[in-house]
Symmetry: C2
Subunit: 330 residues, 2 copies
């Protein structure tokens, strides 16, 4: 089991295990059985925790959602918010699911084709829409770890869902930043960024009818790429069918472009949507105007150093303009 704790200085929540690893356990080289022995591959469905959702077509499954084998957050129980001396803590209530992105061990969804990407993004949307009904949960994060250098623990293509009973620090910062901008300008900062990028053009990666992708002006990492819906919308889970179709085209294209120039380099992506609405309907109207859901795709090409760790100041060894150029031409 884990408990959630709040850093009193930075107000960042973390999950702390009650079953600590010893120092020696970190130093062992990690060995996992792969290939035919992969537990996420077809044929081993009975060895996974009970399936939560799946898409089956033509007598086979294309994607499955299962609980994490070793979840950090648990669906049962109450929040148990309580103090401990000067500190704050709560129970590790939430959800922690694995989405198997592909029935084939060696193929990412974009390798299978746009239909598979469509299945995956629909499943993402459905998981967020389902989990946000739970009034104990404040945030639902969809993310992917591809490659060991990006924190992946399986080599089989997969993404994850984490539903937390608090709004994670980075999300809160994005919400606060967007809210401040809105208070000053009475415009959505993301809509303004898209207009600025569209006018300038240098950092644009690709455009579809409904979506826009670009290299941000001041990203954390080289080749970081964002995807935004062109029409203002704060919640990914509200995306309609026609836009989902277009999103599949955008997402599939950008992932293929990344692969074309960066090969199998590790990467993460995550969906930043607004916090859950249902428990907080009263705050909803402002939130809807000032936040804009988006996808951030972040290649993990370099190790961060003590400078980045100690300052949150990043050094970009490839400019966003050059990164966008490579991606546009890929």
């Amino acid at each position: 089991m884990h408990e959630l704790r709040k850093d009193p200085l930075l107000c960042r929540w973390v999950a702390v295990t009650s079953e600590s690893k010893s120092p020696g356990e970190y130093c062992l080289p990690e060995e996992r059985s792969e290939g035919t022995a992969c537990v996420l591959c077809p044929g081993r469905e009975r060895e996974t925790p009970p399936e939560i959702a799946a898409i089956r077509e033509g007598g086979r499954w294309w994607t499955r959602v299962i609980p994490n084998f070793r979840p950090v957050l648990h669906v049962e129980g109450d929040l148990g918010r309580r103090g401990l001396g000067m500190y704050d803590r709560m129970n590790s209530v939430g959800a922690n699911e694995i989405i198997i992105d592909s029935p084939e061990h060696d193929k990412q969804p974009e390798d299978i084709g746009i239909e598979q990407v469509r299945r995956i993004v629909r499943l993402y949307r459905d998981r967020v829409a389902d989990l946000e009904k739970d009034s104990r949960l404040r945030y639902i994060l969809i993310f992917k770890n591809s490659g060991k250098g990006a924190g992946a623990i399986y080599s089989h293509p997969h993404s994850e869902v984490m539903a937390t009973p608090v709004i994670p620090k980075l999300i809160k910062e994005e919400l606060d930043g967007a809210k401040q901008y809105y208070a000053y300008k009475e415009r959505c900062i993301f809509c303004d960024i898209m207009r600025e990028e569209s006018r300038n053009g240098e950092r644009v990666v690709f455009e579809t009818r409904d979506f826009f992708s670009f290299s941000p002006f001041a990203p954390k990492f080289p080749f970081e790429t964002w995807i935004l819906p062109k029409s203002h919308s704060c919640a990914f889970q509200q995306t309609g069918e026609s836009e989902m179709e277009d999103l599949s085209l955008m997402f599939c294209t950008v992932l293929k472009k990344m692969r074309a120039i960066l090969g199998d380099s590790p990467y993460n992506y995550f969906f930043h949507t607004a916090p859950n609405r249902i428990p907080r309907r009263d705050h909803w109207h402002t939130l809807g105007d000032d936040f804009h859901w988006h996808i951030e795709i972040v290649p993990r090409l370099l190790m961060t150093s003590g400078f980045e760790q100690g300052s949150d100041f990043y050094v970009l060894t490839t400019s966003p303009e050059d990164a966008a150029k490579y991606l546009r031409e890929a």
Copy 2:
């Protein structure tokens, strides 16, 4: 050359190069000549940029400070703050120095002994005191990268100094968090944390006459350890001789304890001191009361995943209580 850019959403500054690496350059395995060919070793002093400072005793140098071979920030020029459409940027003014921590390629300062640690922390203090005289600079960060997994580009023991013309985001967050607590309690949050930890005892690592070290209640990474001066002080560079002596004992002991349990695992440390006082003397009185300088030592035992990257929410696989117990007993 680099330029500094501000993320309009999160207000985080980054440095962007004008000489971009191509995608292929990230995928090459990095090979550096080491051992006798190391440019930081004695005998190759003429091949480094001109020495800024050094400590020489008994006919040899024990530590040298040199400019970074490929600096991100440059001492010359004005700040050049300017807009670009809706964005903000400025020149990459600052300093970027390498401190050679040891004359011996295979020995860390703590292996050589407490005298060497004393030389190093004194040199750190002198570099901060020297650089803070430059009124263009807002912050001076001392940090160390040990091991490739912690971003080190040399295997020779070294640390670095980065002086920036802006206050980096993480420092600003610590200052803001401490200020909010002070406004509410009229007490320094770090002094309160030390009292709480001292009373509880579970997370204490080691104590000397003037310094206190512990595993924070809600850290980012397993085995993260902080060192604080027991007497309230916001600025490391104001530490007197007698306390510096005691700091050497504390720092040397904690680094040796870390090594004893984690071996040669990569780690970073960084000194968080108050921003430069000289250009901003008017704000000084409050700042001095609510901030408390400290050292954070962060082993890099695991890769962060898309969850951490996308949320700034961390999962601790060893509890701070168990980490402190291992370190106390080492």
